[in-house]
Symmetry: D2
Subunit: 343 residues, 4 copies
């Protein structure tokens, strides 16, 4: 029997992608859709690509609406708004938070990067991490990872878990503009974005940095520093994360490849590409797949890993569905594809 | 029980899109995949987005391979090559030609535009046209329409069938570059295409023109002339067709809208948008849906219709699957979605 | 000696493009730069590509500032705001309005499309039209044409002036997003625009329509109807206008080509391309050139003309400079290039 | 009196960009234009944006043609072809090689990365490097740097020259597709490139790596290792290079900024942006400017520098003109702009 799911924040990009997946999910029935300023509007006017739901009308985002007869509640709300809603939803409802509120373990990190009191820590929706699936099985609360930390953690945890990398990671990632959301801002206009690459948050300020440090340090068993530079690329979707770290003394190409083959051998969504083939965000467009390639640069003695994901799918809504599947005891891949829409 | 399908021309864009759909089709099992110059290569190197098929190796495009234990054979071959293959495949095999060979009824038109002998005419894979479904039911041969004629015929047949339009259609359509195929040519390089709009085949020379004339004249019951200008747009997928014709004397806005509401009332894939909302190719990205809007321009006394499709899905591979479903007696929508991948 | 020029509205796209041209103009010295909400900000933060002016600070848009010691005042203001400013600037100052306020001759057209009282009509800044240059010589007021009317009028006036076309024009034009300005709106976000084509203002509602009718009717010597459909293309700059009209009886390919060769034989910025070559917006990127090609479609008996311009250059700021040159008695091409930035 | 310049390889992207600049250069008269397979064709068909040269016909690339009455010969030829031409041109002709042949000092590096005998080393056309201008003054031979090494060397030499960075640089750069040239290859098709980011040459294999090492080691006075990952971005032009290195012990934010302010204080083309503003490739589109920003990441103790250039202008043809100006004793900025074409 299908579980009934509500989506709070159905008019944004994360909510829209989630609905795209949930319509196709055989075990889910779509319940309430809510919005704030958009409450009362037809979804067809807000998300014109979701034709089967075009006639649905958004309700206001209230606990009354969300608590009403749902087995799962997805929260696609601005950062800092999930806690107030979640605490009023009963323990028997599965709550999946697609915001940042419950990702970080360290309250100090939260307060430093988000400037508000820490709400707590929920089981983390990245099943591919060591121990990741066990933490999600049967859970009633899930914190969906950030899009950049998803790509970066998958790219680098094998190197740290296997002990082949020095604990200083350097990451440069390019993201499509949908990662910046749907609120109109001048620098996100098509006229500004098309034909242009630009960085932002250079020098350590991006809010996703502590989440990367948390995941990589856990894999390494020691503190890992992260130099992270995000860039905005002229495309709507996709993250390409180029990650590197010095190899530990004596580590060479074979050990590097072996670590990655072992880490992803049984993963349904992570594909370590054959040597000589490189990830491309187009290949995972709209899919929950992750393409990874790893190289050992002998002259710089560095391990270089490149990962491609769709920031809205594996980076957000796909991870939410994958984690929900695990929490509910469904097949982890239900309703998710590894086929991208290309070219 | 699943039907077993072969795909000839699996390395091109049409073949790739077809495989994307067939993998998700619950009634189809994928059989042989063939190529010409690419025979012997892994599909993963040619279509890196089709991860579940990455390990499949292309066989040569021969009748032996295609005839081997398949219920359906899809031909995604260059124009003019399908006839020789098709005639050697038995009558019990469903052959779906995604090329142009069997679309035109008039041998003279074929010869004038393609410069080779006419191979014949097969049932036409556009079920939404008047009488379209009946022609496909139980058929063992299907000619998939061209991508532009699909958008244009759907946009204008209601006006002609209902007798509200004069028989002189003016069409300007923008297509994504995938419509031009995967063979590398200088004018299709990303460097040339990005940031640029350009026309081609202006003045009546495009090969899709006689196919449009054929469909619209059939709907009108009289000869319709077509002025067609295709343009290349800086996007990978999508067709936006802007079509207009003078309204017949006395026809006004109400009659125009009524004709379109009637034509598409029960169509699963064609969505006449609410007034004030306009089609966008992004909304049908990767989907089999068609978005249509119609307006009556009082000052010019013209009916203006705009249609958006994905040229590779509803414009090619989706139409192939939809028509196959009808021919095989399956639900017409099996394996097809009306949800686009957006933003 | 250089003329001193003020630019009101220096933070928008039209103002930015104008400054790009004026910096390179040997006969112009840049005076005051003004803005409204942006007054007090460094231009470098608003127009980061205008490096030589990065340190300039915007002043408020007041008559005091604009009247102060300038020979030319360019107004790049929202529609409806130019008249109030212009009437307070003396007759000895050349005022070039880049908005719509003074383009239309018919007050009723203005009021119907813009909903405010008509401010008047100024000499029209499209020198290539019949009599266009004479109207600008020595003038102290110039109304810069709209971007779409520029492309469409240049594409079709030769057909109407030479009497070869029926007075019913059908136009579909694709524009880059900069034509919609810099004010952030959801449908102009990069995420929405990239990979998508969509129409707007279908059915006669676009404000540029009466301007086209005005120009084409003047060329024809009889009223011309215009069916105009604008579309938004995934590129920052450029307009590709596809324009057609039925040929008058007896008109054929030779007469069509002859009309266009005659019209543009001596034009420095309009290039009728050799037969077989098609305009592309990339070819005129950042330039004041216009690329035009014309074809006669025998089967539909229509004249089809395609024009490519840069909407910000020849479509706005380049036309302003070209017209200023004529008004001031400078060489018409001073400070303007016919070379596009490509690829 | 103008110098007379020949361009060998006028049909490619580097040659086209060079011609765009030379047409506007007041001290240059354009002489012979040559091509190989394109000899005999009109330039208008090959470079449709170069309207003033549309009627010029390409001659074959022979020493006879190039030696004929030219003061400067620009070579925009495939790697490895310049030496044979250059040695036949007299010492009185200024030869500017836009290929790689004469960039590297170490013959072993050349042979390892290019697989052919080393032709020699010419004065290097990056005037902003320490001692860069002196090497070019009066020279009759110039090796134009590679596009990536230009961005990377300008981004990092101040850190190495001033002794604040450890000698291990990590670089991730995104390039527009024009950097890959005009020869049509499947992975460079618009359909493949649009909407996609992908890396190539990961792990040390890119031919531009030894050139970076050469420049950075010279600035540092000690060997610097370089981990370089190039990525292909969905845009025609532009390089965004994100470069970082550990800061030496005790180095902090102030020392970092001071080093960069000092290095670029008097540079006409390199703009160190105000704090809080980030480079964007759109801002330098078609210009010879370089935008640079630097940050000190305290938690990772790294210096992070981001540079934006236009790969075809400052990255190739603009550098050629700038260096030619110096060699000929002209003002270094003649014929070059620091204004980008944006948006």
């Amino acid at each position: 029997m299908a579980v009934r799911a509500a989506v709070a924040g159905a008019s944004g990009y994360a909510g829209g992608e989630l609905l795209r997946l949930l319509v196709a999910h055989p075990g889910v029935e779509i319940g309430a859709l809510t919005g704030n300023t958009n409450a009362g509007q037809r979804l067809g006017a807000l998300q014109p690509h979701l034709l089967p739901l075009a006639g649905r009308v958004l309700e206001p985002t209230t606990v009354e609406v969300l608590a009403r007869d749902h087995d799962v509640v997805f929260l696609a709300l601005p950062h800092g708004q999930s806690a107030a809603v979640a605490e009023q939803l009963g323990d028997e409802v599965l709550v999946v938070d697609m915001g940042a509120d419950f990702r970080l373990k360290d309250a100090g990190d939260w307060e430093r990067f988000y400037g508000s009191p820490h709400a707590g820590t929920w089981p983390y929706g990245l099943p591919e991490l060591p121990g990741g699936r066990a933490a999600l099985e049967g859970s009633k609360r899930i914190a969906v990872p950030g899009c950049y930390p998803t790509a970066v953690s998958l790219a680098l945890f094998p190197a740290y878990e296997s002990g082949i990398a020095e604990p200083e990671a350097v990451i440069v990632a390019a993201s499509g503009t949908s990662g910046a959301g749907k609120a109109p801002k001048p620098h996100l206009l098509g006229s500004e974005v098309m034909g242009s690459m630009s960085p932002y948050g250079v020098g350590g300020g991006h809010r996703h940095t502590p989440e990367m440090i948390q995941n990589l340090s856990a894999a390494a068993g020691e503190p890992v520093t992260v130099s992270f530079t995000p860039t905005l690329a002229p495309m709507a979707r996709g993250i390409l994360a180029t990650c590197s770290a010095k190899a530990k003394p004596g580590v060479g190409a074979e050990a590097v490849r072996a670590a990655y083959q072992k880490a992803f051998a049984d993963e349904p969504f992570v594909h370590l590409l054959p040597e000589g083939q490189w990830p491309a965000t187009a290949s995972v467009y709209g899919s929950n797949a992750v393409q990874i390639q790893v190289a050992y640069d002998e002259s710089a003695h560095r391990i270089v890993v490149v990962a491609a994901i769709d920031n809205l799918t594996k980076g957000t809504a796909g991870a939410a569905v994958q984690s929900m599947n695990i929490a509910l005891g469904l097949d982890e891949t239900t309703g998710l594809t590894t086929i991208g829409v290309a070219p």
